[in-house]
Structure formats: structure tokens, C-alpha cells
């Protein structure tokens, strides 16, 4: 395996995020409502997933899912060529974009050329990654998110906190407040059904005006040139069929060879993502509307984004490309559960976000270079991953690639550490000195202030200076 090298790329992380990563965790930790909302969501996901393991053998399905995805990534260039040929055969247009900026240029150019004013979007992490909404709005277009969670965020002017459930950090009464503000009336119900009904009415008005629908892609099936879009609300079906033009934006790694593979991954996805054995809607779209068909767009454009992915093939990070964006590693992660996704400052949060954001951005990017360190390496992510990505190993490797003043300081410290600790005599001397210091600082059995790196320890906890510790 070759070593992955940095590339200069456009930002994946958000540029409007304030403070350092650690500062953001502190702010999030002080938000009790957030904590409760995250815990409710993660617990409910955990129960669903346990049921999938018990009743549907999710653990057994994982090995095959892993094999399929690893093979897909090995065969990626051939699969993408096949996908491209089949989509064109079906009457669609395929564009390969080297980065997000190129993808955005194509889509805004297309919208302008076709005289589009309103763009309806269904949920898509790829468009969040390439900052498509901003690009479209800069071009004077109105963009409407039609996924309930994404629409809520659009109203709240917030970034998503989860790959699948973007507004999972908000609760029902917070959502009701946002809806009331948007509608300019207090006449918005408080209950779940009422809120959904309200959103449906408001969003339907937008669908009627939209000249272009933009969706993401959960899976591309190379053998037939079909894009699969999995959803629960039916909005993606409208986005991909109602407007005159459908643009599907796909990360280049999201392709499988055939329907046998697609069937397996499409089963695993909802089990891992939402703890259910099926999603409400699975849209399978092959090209634009055909002559004998009543529904569907006149034009279908598939935009395949590299955005730094291709460079990961053949490196120690290749398995990160297996990801099917289910969000299971987020829910399982004690860090994500504690602070939510917004603290990460990237569309991709949680363990997979901490790995891929710096990979896609370059290891020196100030916006994401600290991310791999925000993990206790507990391994819950790797255990939850339905395609068996060894996330905790990738986090360690990503740390080794990170480059910042902090990593340089720690590099110097560990250089000294390594010199001392590789020889028994200097190790023993170091230990003797350390123990003397501990005794001096903690005469009653506990030290509350330690010097140097120990200060990080005693900032939030005491250090026992006798063991077993005294009460």
C-alpha cells in the first residue's frame, strides 16, 4: 500500500464555525437539552439495531457487505466507466467533477442555461460536502430543502448534526417554534403529525415551482446505470420526478457492480442507519423519462464527484471509501452522543467524519486537522459499522498524518519520551522522578495540580498518588 499524500483541496468543513474543536465540545457539553435529544435518538437507534442483529442477522450480513464494498473500491475505475456508459445509454448525462467547485459550476451553469429559478433538494451529504446550496444561492437561485430535517435546518440556519438525521439534535418543541417563525403565525400544532402535516403543505407549494430537482445518491448500480435513493418521506421521489430536470450528485465511491450486490447493501443500509429492516421508499432511477412513460424528468444529469476520494485508493485509508453513509458510527460514538455533530464543524461528523474530513481536505487544514484526536479509540464505531471499516485504526493513522502546531509540539515531546523510554535505565530514572513528584504533590493520597502534560489531567480530575486510592 502506498502512503496517502496531502492534496490541496476546497474545504469540506464549514468555514463559519467558531472556536477550536475543544472549545466547541465545551459549549456543547453545557447544553442539557442537546444532550437529552442526542441521548433519546441514540438510545432509540440502539434498540432498533439490537433488534436487527437479533432478528435479521445483521452481524452475519456485515462480512459480505464488507467484501462487496472492498471489491467495489478495488474495481472503482471500471465500475465508474460502466456506470457512465449505462446512464448515457439510458439517455442521461454524466459529468465527472474533480472537485466540489467543478461540480457546483456545472450545476449552477445548467440551472442558468435552463432558466431555472427554484431548486428543490432532497437530502444529500455530497451536496452538503461541496456546498452546493451556497453556490446556487450565489447564482441567484432559490434553494428549498424538502427533507423534513434539512428543511428544519434551513429554517434554523444550522448545519446538520447527523448524516441520516440532520436535525436529530432538536426536539419537537424547538421544531414547532421554528415552524411558527417561518409561517409567521402561532397557528402551528405541537404534535408530531401536526408538524409533519404543516411542513408537507408548505413544501408542496415549493415543489410546484421547482424547475430543477437535486438529489444525492445512496448507491449507483453500474450494470444498469441506475441510481438508488433511499428515503423515508417521499420527498426524494417528488424531487426526482416532478421538476423538469433531475440532477443526482454522487460521491465517486458510491457504486456497486450489479443488482445482487445492490440488494445486499440496500438491506444492510436501513438496518444499520435507522434500526429498521426497510426504509419507506427506495427510488431506483435509470435515466430521464422515456417516451412511453408518464412521469419523470425530461433531463437526468449524474454528477460524479471525486473531491479527494480517488487519491485514497491503494492507501492505508482505502477502506474509508467503503462507507455507505449510514450514520451508525455516529450513534454508537460516546463523543458524538455527548456533543452532537455540529461541534465537529463538518458535514461528516462522528468517527467517519473525523477520519474523512481531514482526508478530503488535507491533513494541515486548520478546520479539520484536530478531528482525529477527538476520540477515545473505544472502538464502538468499528463494531457498529455495517461494512466493517476499522474506524479506530483509521483514526490512529489519521492522527499520524495530521499536521498542526499541536502535533509538532507533541512530536517533540514524544521524541524525548521515546529516547528515555527505550532504555531501561533512563525509564527507571524517569519513573523514580515521577513518583517523587507525585508524592510531593499529593501528600493526602491525591494530587489536584500536576505540572506539564499532567495539567490536562488535573484540570478536570484528581490523580491518585497512592494505590488503591484513598477515599
Amino acid at each position: 500500500m502506498s502512503t496517502w499524500r496531502r492534496r490541496d483541496a476546497g474545504g469540506v468543513a464549514y468555514s463559519d464555525v467558531e472556536g477550536t474543536l475543544r472549545e466547541r465540545t465545551i459549549v456543547a457539553l453545557s447544553d442539557r437539552t442537546l444532550r437529552g435529544n442526542l441521548d433519546t435518538a441514540a438510545t432509540s437507534w440502539g434498540e432498533g439495531r439490537d433488534a436487527m442483529r437479533r432478528d435479521h442477522g445483521l452481524d452475519e450480513m456485515r462480512e459480505r457487505a464488507r467484501e462487496i464494498r472492498r471489491q467495489n473500491i478495488r474495481d472503482l475505475p471500471a465500475l465508474l466507466s460502466e456506470m457512465q456508459a449505462k446512464v448515457r445509454e439510458a439517455g442521461g448525462t454524466v459529468v465527472r467533477a474533480a472537485d466540489g467547485a467543478e461540480a457546483c459550476r456545472y450545476i449552477t451553469g445548467l440551472a442558468r442555461a435552463r432558466g431555472v429559478r427554484v431548486v428543490a433538494k432532497s437530502k444529500s451529504m455530497a451536496t452538503e460536502e461541496i456546498k452546493l446550496n451556497e453556490a446556487l444561492e450565489d447564482a441567484g437561485l432559490e434553494v428549498v430543502e424538502t427533507d423534513l430535517g434539512e428543511w428544519i435546518l434551513q429554517l434554523a440556519e444550522e448545519h446538520p448534526s447527523h448524516i441520516i438525521a440532520p436535525a436529530v439534535h432538536l426536539n419537537r418543541s424547538q421544531v414547532a417554534d421554528l415552524f411558527r417563525e417561518e409561517a409567521g403565525t402561532d397557528d402551528v400544532p405541537d404534535d408530531r403529525e401536526g408538524l409533519v402535516a404543516h411542513a408537507r403543505v408548505r413544501l408542496r407549494e415549493k415543489f410546484a415551482q421547482a424547475g430543477m430537482g437535486v438529489s444525492g445518491v445512496n448507491l449507483g448500480v453500474a450494470s444498469t446505470g441506475t441510481v438508488c435513493i433511499v428515503e423515508n418521506e417521499g420527498n426524494a421521489r417528488l424531487v426526482t420526478s416532478q421538476p423538469r430536470i433531475h440532477v443526482a450528485v454522487m460521491g465517486m465511491e458510491r457504486v456497486v457492480a450489479d443488482w445482487d450486490q445492490a440488494a445486499h447493501i440496500l438491506q444492510v443500509l436501513p438496518m444499520a442507519a435507522i434500526g429498521q429492516d426497510a426504509a419507506n421508499y427506495v427510488n431506483l432511477i435509470t435515466g430521464p423519462r422515456r417516451e412511453d412513460e408518464a412521469d419523470g424528468p425530461e433531463e437526468f444529469h449524474l454528477v460524479i464527484v471525486d473531491g479527494g476520494r480517488g487519491a485514497l485508493r491503494g492507501t492505508e485509508f482505502e477502506e474509508a471509501l467503503s462507507c455507505i453513509r449510514c450514520g451508525a458510527c455516529l450513534y454508537s460514538c460516546p463523543m458524538w452522543r455527548s456533543v452532537g455533530g455540529q461541534a465537529y464543524g463538518s458535514p461528516y461528523s462522528g468517527p467517519i467524519g473525523a477520519v474523512i474530513t481531514p482526508l478530503l481536505e488535507g491533513p494541515a487544514s486548520p478546520a479539520s486537522r484536530d478531528l482525529p484526536f477527538m476520540s477515545s479509540l473505544c472502538g464502538a464505531c468499528g463494531e457498529a459499522c455495517p461494512v466493517g471499516i476499522p474506524l479506530q485504526d483509521l483514526l490512529v493513522r489519521a492522527r499520524a498524518r495530521a499536521s498542526s502546531p499541536a502535533t509538532r509540539t507533541s512530536g517533540l515531546a514524544f521524541r524525548a519520551w521515546s529516547r528515555l523510554w527505550r532504555h531501561p535505565s533512563t525509564y527507571r530514572t524517569w519513573m523514580a522522578g515521577w513518583r517523587l513528584m507525585l508524592r510531593a504533590r499529593g501528600k493526602a493520597g491525591w494530587a489536584s495540580h500536576l505540572p506539564g502534560p499532567g495539567a490536562g489531567w488535573t484540570q478536570v480530575r484528581d490523580m491518585p498518588t497512592r494505590w488503591p486510592p484513598r477515599r
Binding site: R22, T25, I26, L29, P334, M335, S338, V339, P372, F373, M374, S375, S376, L377, C378, G379, A380, G382, E383, D393, V396, A398, R399, A400, A402, A406, T407, S410, G411, F414, R415, W417, S418, W421, R422, H423, P424, Y427, M431, W434, R435, L438, W446, S448, P453, G454, A455, G456, W457, Q459, V460, R461, D462, M463, P464, T465, W467, P468, P469, R471
Partner: protein, 260 residues
């Protein structure tokens, strides 16, 4: 196992081998003290040695050992880690099993050494040490060893993450406590991370402490009053947070609980 079997095969008393397949009386192991035990709690490795000796195991504690190198490895400094790990490979060379009173250090050798030394001259030695290294309670369980009565408890067990998810083990500590006659009161979410995470505990102290506090409260709610674990690092963190926040909780390493 392989190592002790080889010992057995060298033995001339063939009949004895059939009756006592594990050769407990002649088993010889190397003990990895761990740097945390050296730094904060020498009583942990000493208790481990006593418990093993009570089982009839001959324990050698190589004096020149230092650290498995995990701090540098997980901090993202593989070259510095490798230099220290090379020393560890030399110290623990030989046919014996290497017993480690830490799921995390054992996991480091078992899981990370093969990656760390891939393509290096020491690759074979690293794979060999990875095969011979075993966490302390796993060792007891694997050889069916009975150290006799330990503390009566009750204690509650924190499943350390590397024990649970790197070594895939949650049964052996419970089995060891049961054999020793120690009562266990399980806490809620015992499989959840306590937030220690090595360097993470000082780079994201607030987040780390929040998880530690939750763990300490869950431990107290179990009704046991004392938390134990196969990992000293987790215990130092949990009990350190508890002490700072005035949560009444005692902690001992599982070797100490088994010791008396």
C-alpha cells in the same frame, strides 16, 4: 498456550501430560508490568504476580521492560512508538506466554504490533509476540486456573474498551471473580467508554471527564461501592473524576480484587 505446550513436550513424563494437559505446576510466563502500574500503582503488577504464583505459575518479571509504546502510537507518532516497541520485543523474546494486567496494553501488542512492524526487520518477532501475549484474566480463564478466594466484594465491573472490542473479551474477568468467590453487581452500560482514551484524556479533558462522571455514577448506582476493571488507566480516570466531584467510589484493579 503454544509455548506452554512446548514446555510440556520437553517434559519426559508423558503420562502426566495426559492427565494434566495444562501443566499448571510447570507453567512459566513473563509478566508485563505496564508503565501505568510502574507510574501510579506498582501494587497492581505485584498483585498480578502473587495471583499467578498462587496458581502455581512461575512468573518472571523482566527487569529491563519499559512500555508497550501505546501512548506514542495513539498520539500519532508511530516512529517514536516503534523505537520503544523494539525494546519491548527484545525484552519479551522467548517461548513463554506474556501475561499483561491490562486489556489495553495486551490489545496494543496483539492488534497494533503487526501493523506497526509490517515490512520492518522485526515483523516476525512482532507477530510472534502478538501470538504469545495475553491479558491476565484471559490467561486464568484459558488455563482454567484457580487462585483461591479473593475479596468477597461486591464489586462492579467496568468493561474497558480495548478488552471488550480489541480483545473481544467480557467473560474472563467475570469468570475470574466468580471463581474467586467475589460478588459482582453489574452497572448499567458497562460496555460504554469511560472517556479515558489515553492522550484523549488530556487533549479533550472536559469531554473525557463528562464520560468519566457518567461512568462513576453508573458504578455507584450498581450498589457495589467499588469498581474494578482489567485496565488501570480507566480506573485512574474514573476514580479521579469521582474524587474531584465528590462521588463516593472506591477502585481496585481486578488483580488486586483477586489477590485478597
Amino acid at each position: 498456550m503454544r509455548a506452554t505446550r512446548q514446555k510440556g513436550q520437553d517434559d519426559s513424563e508423558g503420562d502426566t501430560r495426559a492427565r494434566y494437559p495444562t501443566y499448571t505446576a510447570r507453567m512459566r510466563v513473563l509478566l508485563m508490568r505496564t508503565c501505568l502500574s510502574d507510574a501510579v500503582a506498582p501494587s497492581v503488577w505485584k498483585a498480578t504476580r502473587r495471583v499467578l504464583q498462587r496458581c502455581g505459575v512461575e512468573v518472571t518479571v523482566p527487569r529491563s521492560q519499559t512500555c508497550c509504546s501505546q501512548p506514542a502510537w495513539t498520539a500519532g507518532h508511530p516512529d517514536q512508538a516503534r523505537a520503544v516497541a523494539r525494546h519491548t520485543l527484545k525484552v519479551f523474546a522467548g517461548p513463554e506466554e506474556v501475561v499483561v494486567p491490562s486489556g489495553s496494553c495486551a490489545g496494543m501488542v496483539v492488534h497494533a504490533y503487526p501493523e506497526m512492524f509490517k515490512g520492518e526487520p522485526e515483523e516476525e518477532a512482532a507477530l510472534d509476540l502478538a501470538r504469545r501475549t495475553i491479558e491476565f484474566t484471559q490467561f486464568l480463564s484459558k488455563h482454567g486456573l484457580d487462585p483461591g478466594p479473593g475479596s468477597s466484594g461486591p464489586v462492579t465491573i467496568h468493561d474497558s474498551c480495548h478488552m471488550l472490542r480489541v480483545l473481544d473479551e467480557s467473560a474472563s474477568p467475570r469468570e475470574a471473580l466468580e471463581v474467586a468467590g467475589c460478588a459482582v453487581e453489574e452497572m448499567e452500560h458497562t460496555d460504554r467508554c469511560c472517556g479515558f482514551g489515553g492522550v484523549f484524556s488530556i487533549t479533550f479533558p472536559e469531554l473525557s471527564a463528562r464520560l468519566g462522571e457518567e461512568k462513576a455514577r453508573a458504578a455507584v448506582q450498581s450498589g457495589a461501592g467499588e469498581v474494578t476493571s482489567c485496565d488501570l488507566g480507566c480506573l485512574m480516570h474514573i476514580v479521579g473524576v469521582a474524587h474531584r466531584q465528590g462521588i463516593p467510589l472506591r477502585a481496585r484493579h481486578i488483580a488486586e480484587v483477586l489477590d485478597r
